[in-house]
Symmetry: C3
Subunit: 665 residues, 3 copies
Amino acid sequence: MNKHLDKVQIGVCYYPEQWDPSLWEEDVQLMKATGVRVVRLAEFAWSRLEPADGQFAFGWLDQAIDLFHKYRIRVVLGTPTNTPPRWLTGLAPDILPVDAAGRTVHPGVRGHRCYNSGSLRVYGARIIEEMAKRYGGHPAVIGWQTDNEFWVIDCHCAACNERFREWMRAKYGSLEAVNREWGTVVWSGEYGDWSQAGVPYGGSPHQNPSYLLDFTRFQWDSIAEFQRSQIGIIREHCPGHFIAHNFHTYPQRLDLYRIGADLDIASFDYYPNTDPDKQATGPYSGALALDVTRGIKRRNFWIMEQLSGPPGCWFPTWRAPYPGFIRAFAWQAIAKGADTVVHFRWRSAAAGAEQFWHGLIDHSNVPGRRFEEFAKLCGEVNALAGKLQGTAPRNEAAILLSHEQLEALRIQPQAGGFDYYENVKDYHRALTKLGIGCDVIEWTQPLAGYKLVVAPHVFLMDEKAAEALESFAEAGGTVILTSRSGAKRMNNQHVMMPLPGLLAKCAGVTVKEYDPIGRASHRIADAAGRHFYGMQWCDILSLQEAEAIAWYDEDFYRGEPAVTVNRFGQGKVYYLGTHPEESYLKELFASIAGELELAAFPGLPEGVQVAVRNGESGAYLFVLNLSREPRHVTLPSSYPSELYGVIRERTLSLAPYEVDILRIS
Amino acid sequence: MNKHLDKVQIGVCYYPEQWDPSLWEEDVQLMKATGVRVVRLAEFAWSRLEPADGQFAFGWLDQAIDLFHKYRIRVVLGTPTNTPPRWLTGLAPDILPVDAAGRTVHPGVRGHRCYNSGSLRVYGARIIEEMAKRYGGHPAVIGWQTDNEFWVIDCHCAACNERFREWMRAKYGSLEAVNREWGTVVWSGEYGDWSQAGVPYGGSPHQNPSYLLDFTRFQWDSIAEFQRSQIGIIREHCPGHFIAHNFHTYPQRLDLYRIGADLDIASFDYYPNTDPDKQATGPYSGALALDVTRGIKRRNFWIMEQLSGPPGCWFPTWRAPYPGFIRAFAWQAIAKGADTVVHFRWRSAAAGAEQFWHGLIDHSNVPGRRFEEFAKLCGEVNALAGKLQGTAPRNEAAILLSHEQLEALRIQPQAGGFDYYENVKDYHRALTKLGIGCDVIEWTQPLAGYKLVVAPHVFLMDEKAAEALESFAEAGGTVILTSRSGAKRMNNQHVMMPLPGLLAKCAGVTVKEYDPIGRASHRIADAAGRHFYGMQWCDILSLQEAEAIAWYDEDFYRGEPAVTVNRFGQGKVYYLGTHPEESYLKELFASIAGELELAAFPGLPEGVQVAVRNGESGAYLFVLNLSREPRHVTLPSSYPSELYGVIRERTLSLAPYEVDILRIS
Amino acid sequence: MNKHLDKVQIGVCYYPEQWDPSLWEEDVQLMKATGVRVVRLAEFAWSRLEPADGQFAFGWLDQAIDLFHKYRIRVVLGTPTNTPPRWLTGLAPDILPVDAAGRTVHPGVRGHRCYNSGSLRVYGARIIEEMAKRYGGHPAVIGWQTDNEFWVIDCHCAACNERFREWMRAKYGSLEAVNREWGTVVWSGEYGDWSQAGVPYGGSPHQNPSYLLDFTRFQWDSIAEFQRSQIGIIREHCPGHFIAHNFHTYPQRLDLYRIGADLDIASFDYYPNTDPDKQATGPYSGALALDVTRGIKRRNFWIMEQLSGPPGCWFPTWRAPYPGFIRAFAWQAIAKGADTVVHFRWRSAAAGAEQFWHGLIDHSNVPGRRFEEFAKLCGEVNALAGKLQGTAPRNEAAILLSHEQLEALRIQPQAGGFDYYENVKDYHRALTKLGIGCDVIEWTQPLAGYKLVVAPHVFLMDEKAAEALESFAEAGGTVILTSRSGAKRMNNQHVMMPLPGLLAKCAGVTVKEYDPIGRASHRIADAAGRHFYGMQWCDILSLQEAEAIAWYDEDFYRGEPAVTVNRFGQGKVYYLGTHPEESYLKELFASIAGELELAAFPGLPEGVQVAVRNGESGAYLFVLNLSREPRHVTLPSSYPSELYGVIRERTLSLAPYEVDILRIS
């Protein structure tokens, strides 16, 4: 592994091109004094690096990088393809994406580039090669970020149309196969000639869902191929450098795993919501995002952009981060496996569209409260870096995530209130509140080493995936399955089997019928007679081998099984016919955790999260109060605080947004 | 009349092209065993019937029809023009509609065909002629459905532009007349040359309302002409077959009467909402839709698609139909004059966009609860078919419906909360709750035979229509008029007369002023001092010949007449200056029903509907509990139950969604 | 000054071209009898004045004007460029605007003309010149309205693209300057060649805010230049006529001051909302609009369209105006400095899109309640015209308004609930409720003569504007500054200074940090311990020279200053760090009014507004009950009522929508 990758350290994003050079050295000196160890540069600077076709102007970047080197701050460079300059889009308008209605995306913002544009490949390769050749040997430069925050743009340009046709041909070989796998006979959509095939102009949501899912897969492959074309160049000229990509806020329609496959390391742009009332993008959502990011490569990761002040700009500015907020969420990232945390950004922009996406330092250039907190963080991280280096989360539970499921369930949303990723959040939050660490991994990854696997809404299914879950259970694992599983083949056609289709065998139940209750709720009862509510969907279950552990308690299917468990080989498979409220999930997971002897942290107060990093240097328990209220945490034992150099007795009191790091072994 | 039309029977929609032929005979056998008597086929199968230009492939359809014939199940064929195949839209892109913003509607969904496309006329005629010639003599085939669920698409393609110009010329003769009848002088919109005339590009709602109304009328005529071109071919080759069209959920902007004029029979696609909380599309709304459908030809009708499972797909899946729901609503359709009820669809689609528009049998092909209920329905219908054949609703009350009013009031919506069709629903629901059977007929139809005519919001008016209402009242009829009547000439220009314009004479009132109260409400009082609320609009009335029967009780017009009645000849004309809440309408209609000795059913519990079919075989009272609660209905006498073979005493207890059919004479 | 401008009189908008000529004289006679003194004609009549290219047809207008002259009613003519006729847009399609997505705005509505269209300049000039030559000497014609209700249309046509490039070149001289002033380096948006510059195709809100602000400024200049081209023609041929423009409902993105600069007089189209529940567009909002209009030229103005009946058409019809409403709001306009009030419109249109924008007389042509009220108004105005002529509001307080601030804060909206113009309304309403008359003037106007200047959200700032405020305060004035002041340079780049930037000196505070609380609220406390709520934004202040007068009372900045005052020279500068609720603003303004001895009217009941017109003939206090409830107003003394010819003692009782006019000196 690249020696820079697992350093536990803090960085910042810096834009020398946006500031008068007279400010640079003062900025770098302050970074140095503050404890910053790494900067990210140049990912939007194409117009400055190549002001006109083939005219390169690296002097300013040389100067900036040299300056960082002078102060021994490491540099990560971004490939600048996210923002092709105006001279280039003028010269090669095929770079600009075209939406489903045929409207060109115009320059002036960013992301105005089609991943399949031939011109972008040529001109992008040239600037990247120039950069890679120039900085491959620079002692300050350690790695690269590809482009910036990839996302699916549903481009309908001529190149995409042609490339999609090629993709179809490569995947299916013949139109007969396309027609069969997409079921185009419905509504007379059969293709008789390749010229009829192409992107879904018009963007109607009524299009064939098999087609729409493949169109998205094609886009994922296009982005991956676009990235690979960059990676090849960098690898050639910068063999010692690592390559990362900064993934944008989840959920993305982007398949993180396809993009991640070619990277050395995953990284994430982490902007936890500063508004205490916006829980949907709050601390638990963030915890999931961090676990997702760690799962991309199934190892530690970087944060490439960490919240430094209130974001804003084209939406209302967020609330000021509460005292401790910036530091606490940086520690949360590290607790979850981030090694380097790069803050976005050093100073708020004075110009351009992102003037109110606030940095660590305000426009005034007068360091304030947020900067002081950042400085404290830098000091703490640098002090603990040695111990934390090489440690990582090690979990016995995993949630399976799939962008194919996400996309298939976006195309056909099933029920009011049903949202694949929000439901994944619900499962993850219940585990998090119980202090049960879990990984979030791509749904077809090997499951060896886990005791518990939660597989929400595995809507698309094939024999291999079903067998993997069966094998895991047979070997003693516990699997949680849910409604809307096994409904589809991978081609997004419905199975002609009782649901959960290929999973019925291990689940030991079949679905007789279902009631998509949407935004209503349905009371269920467990064996102890306790009542809970289910939401979104109610599968009415027919027990085959399984036994019921909760029952519907309303409507015409009152008394029918709602949740079941099936002994399967050495393990167990649970089936949740409805999406239960959190209190039920916590009961269920607590019970399973007890049975499986999963590491858990009972009695965590609301808003407090825990995570453990293990390694040769020891095991470190991070206790994070991510709320605006003081909290008291009962520890299983007394532990030394690595952060404060004291011994914490059984009760750990945490001020709002206070954090502690305890050595537990 | 075609001998197949008035059979009381159950059918299903079936798509042999979507299933492996190995499933066909098993499916047909099960249909036969279940009691299915008719199937609808092929309305989306163009790509299979003509896989390439001029290459016809009828073998599979021959085979399917022969199979149905083998089991003596009758076949209705759809003309497949709703879904032109890809080879055709590639060859003749003028088939594709173009929206007001100039965006082409792309293939891949359905309905991607402009009614005025010359190419569609040519290619559509060819495939229909091939089908008609081939199946005109097949003993299983009894009739046809034209296209599928016509609707107004506001196409702005070149053909529509040209055809609209021709339509204008045919209607008005000269641009002088156009300018005068549309009042184009306002905002300098005058036409000086035919080249300036055409469709309303841009789709602004601020366009001249006379123009917009005529543009919609043009579209109605275009659809009717498109349908006539199909009907001509079928009549030529299939003289013994009937022709229907399956109208889509109401309200449509489509003028059902223009399309219906050329058909042998009306049919409707009936999807009552399975969610008990969605009353706007619930049982009373359905009752109106059925009465509307019966009114299209003023005789019994078919249901061409009847709900069989929860719809879904591009919207959240509906709730599971409650036990009894499917059967009860099929009986409701029959009670209201449906003879054949064709369920959509046999089995849920495994492919394509409608996978979650559930059929009678789930994707698994395992018949379940819904199918059992359907089988029971088939048995009951087949048992009663002999008695019910030839019977029909016979009513003494009528509501006048007009798509010209609907469209004019859509173009200029008058007040917040004001909705022509929703208001019609309110009048119809009040009658339905009182057990007063009513017809819903086109507003210019002859009124002979009725005692009561409700004419909501006859906004557009001409002398002939006014005289028809006057004559009806003079001859002893009772007419209900409402606010927003007589405001416009048929050209959608405002009258320069006190409102209700041409109706002021028979109403015996004029409108001094009005207060469009929108979503607020206004208290009114009747002569007994009882209070009710009016909504949407308050006409402040000046009594001419009429007398007041309710008065405004708020605001500056407190004490002014709100509802009046005028003795006119031998009859009476009521004028409702405000849109009253249901309780007022029920009081008013109950009082009128008493006076006119209309058949009514006092004391019906909430959710229970009644309807009577009369004929030579007797009179049958359908009592339908369309709710999730048990209900008890007090009968005027004891009657034999045709459904259950028992005598029902004075109290009839109905379980949720239970139905009974009583012979009352 | 033009002798017609300051006549206090009532007019109507009349459209002879829309009515049969047989109605004209009867209409004019009724106008005359009613007391109407002026009419506006012809602003949409291009197609009648020039029915074909170069074929003029003025006969009908001659006849109409002669008829008005016969009855000594004065005529204001509109230039008809708002509605180019169909022959012209057919001949010169470059007249039609094109939106950001490239969609052409089609004819048939109005405003379908690009201000930069070369063809429109040519053809517009020709028709205006014909009109001006023909009517320049007509004794009835006194003035002109340019076009109709200008607004920013964000046209992206080829001409706008080219003209914007020229505008950029004229403003900045070089692309280097453009790049610097817009900060295009961010996101590689730098221009390397003039061909890359142009309008913001695509309309993304993520575009560079400096660019977007300049694009709007360019549009303002385009409209002003378009208007100047018309004014030049009129001035040449009609030297004795005045020129006005009828500004549309505020806020407009249009810079009223740039357009107003070339006019003789401002005028406004005043449509106070008739719904008592719609306060956002109710009497206080109207009071601001009138003060804004008076501020355009800093002198009295006209109302060119005054509400006469409920508006409607493409939105739900408004409520009927309550008895007294029409009269009361006309008097409100006069109280605030309107001299001539022209009602829109004489009679409701029978044809075209505005049939439900009701006039004084209904479609029936039977004058009703509204007309009677109008007739009463005419009589009263004519009776008082002599006394009121030459009087005008004279105020000691001013609010600074700026469309550049409005536009910059629209481009970057700062916080949820933050709305520049709505906030200006809040300050204005607090003053109005205290009976403190105030002017609303362009933010860079001279401030001499005022004691109090309220400067809400002066977001963009330069040295000159800052110095003007400093000088005003130094000389003894009181200034109110608010959050979001001084944040930007005029080029819409952020300052690199502590906020409020250039205003920090006079404010005596700096902003340490801010919390954009959006739609939440934050409790503050004043020195007396009273609690109020702040909204939208909280600046956390650092006292430099100022002292605190209110403090935050929640969250992590509890106890920090929220509102401060700074003695600056002879005056004082207040800084409001949060947007306070009305009760706080009233307390603050009452206290300042006391200190500055501003004329105020304590104890005004809710809904009652007062205003004073001063002149050589005396001072007239208008007391307006703009509510549906009777109100009792305590007067400082007894005064003679000019309206009713009685003496009003200390308690003035006003029925709903009653008005009185008292001579107070």
